[in-house]
């Protein structure tokens, strides 16, 4: 405990990453099954997970590979779906302590996912590089392991168990957003606005052309933009 304002324990990071990794197991399991079903070779599917580490981006990418799309289409799709990581990365830079030199930023940035970001951002005070390495370790291997299991063992697990595991990652999101929404009206409103717009995009036929990745960007920017104006935060980080 040299600096109480900075969280820099690898083990603490590992523990925080464990539930994310378990959530990823089921999601990437489904990804493995689905990619194989679309004719992507098994080892290639695992390589995609090892090099991309992004659920929505990989699902869209596999669809483009399967359809024989252009490289430009692939690049643009990944850009639009994953641009949220740019926002998240920017937000996280405000919490990094001095242990984050350029090389460590370049390495750990690879592990920024929605869930890793949410957990890291929810940490009180500054975060150190050891914490970040710990946090991304298990989710990375969980994502790869789940994909591998999905590719090679998808047919073995009972179908209804696979289906039920589909809710794991979403219930984890719920567990992240509910406690702060309970404590803070601004956060609650931000969640309600963004969820409301997301549902509107999903259910109103006029918006059917908006992909999920793009929808997330619009919802987040609008909700956070409104709430930052209506209920600005005095943040000391």
């Amino acid at each position: 405990m040299t600096d109480i304002k900075s969280q820099n324990s690898y083990i603490y990071g590992l523990l925080k990453g464990l539930p994310i990794a378990l959530g990823y197991l089921s999601v990437s399991f489904g990804f493995g099954i689905s990619a194989l079903g679309q004719g992507i070779w098994g080892l290639g599917t695992i390589l995609i997970s090892l090099t991309n580490l992004t659920s929505a981006g990989q699902v869209a990418g596999v669809a483009i590979i399967a359809a024989g799309g252009t490289f430009l289409e692939m690049a643009l799709t990944q850009l639009v779906i994953n641009i949220r990581y740019c926002l998240m990365g920017l937000a996280l830079t405000q919490k990094l302590d001095k242990s984050f030199t350029t090389i460590h930023r370049m390495i750990t940035s690879f592990g920024i996912t929605d869930e890793v970001f949410a957990v890291a951002a929810a940490e009180r005070g500054m975060i150190g590089r050891r914490f970040m390495y710990g946090l991304i370790t298990l989710p990375y291997f969980g994502w790869a392991l789940g994909t591998t299991l999905g590719v090679y063992a998808g047919q073995i697990l009972p179908q209804n168990l696979c289906a039920a595991l589909g809710i794991a990652i979403y219930s984890m999101f719920v567990a992240i957003i509910v406690p702060p929404s309970r404590d803070d009206k601004g956060t609650l409103l931000a969640v309600l606005i963004s969820s409301g717009i997301s549902c509107a995009f999903y259910f109103i036929p006029l918006f059917a052309g908006i992909s999920q990745g793009f929808s997330v960007i619009i919802c987040a920017v609008v909700a956070a933009g409104i709430m930052a104006f209506v209920a600005p935060k005095d943040l000391e980080t």
């Binding site: 539930p19 959530g23 089921s26 070779w41 290639g44 995609i48 090099t51 990989q58 490289f71 990944q78 850009l79 994953n82 641009i83 990581y85 740019c86 998240m88 920017l90 937000a91 830079t93 930023r105 370049m106 940035s109 920024i112 949410a118 929810a122 209804n160 289906a163 039920a164 595991l165 589909g166 809710i167 979403y170 219930s171 984890m172 999101f173 719920v174 567990a175 957003i177 509910v178 406690p179 309970r182 931000a190 969640v191 606005i193 963004s194 969820s195 717009i197 997301s198 999903y202 259910f203 997330v216 919802c219 909700a223 956070a224 933009g225 709430m227 930052a228 600005p232 935060k233 943040l235």
Partner: protein, 100 residues
């Protein structure tokens, strides 16, 4: 076929990594604006809200089992159970509801 696949893989991986690495590595200053700081504070919760709804209700392939799992997740999260407890209990609730 394999060559083609690796070309796709390279494009996917490079674009995704670039989006993550560039802002995270280059942004070194403290943001002063109270508005931007507040905006960034609200982004994660907004992102997760938009990723969860309405998709959570279709996550098990059955709206009934998913709704039950969602309800369990909400109650446990409200009482501040850890992420892993919420995830496992919600999945179990959805699985058990599917057996009925």
């Amino acid at each position: 076929m394999t060559r083609q696949f690796f070309a796709y893989l390279l494009v996917m991986a490079l674009v995704t990594y670039g989006i993550r690495m560039i802002p995270f590595t280059l942004m070194r200053s403290k943001i002063k604006s109270k508005y931007i700081k507040s905006f960034l504070y609200y982004v994660p919760y907004s992102v997760l809200g938009a990723m969860t709804f309405p998709y959570i209700f279709y996550s098990t392939g059955n709206v009934f089992t998913a709704a039950l799992g969602t309800a369990v997740a909400f109650v446990l999260a409200f009482f501040r159970c850890s992420l892993i407890v919420v995830a496992i209990c919600a999945s179990m609730a959805a699985y058990l509801a599917g057996l009925i």
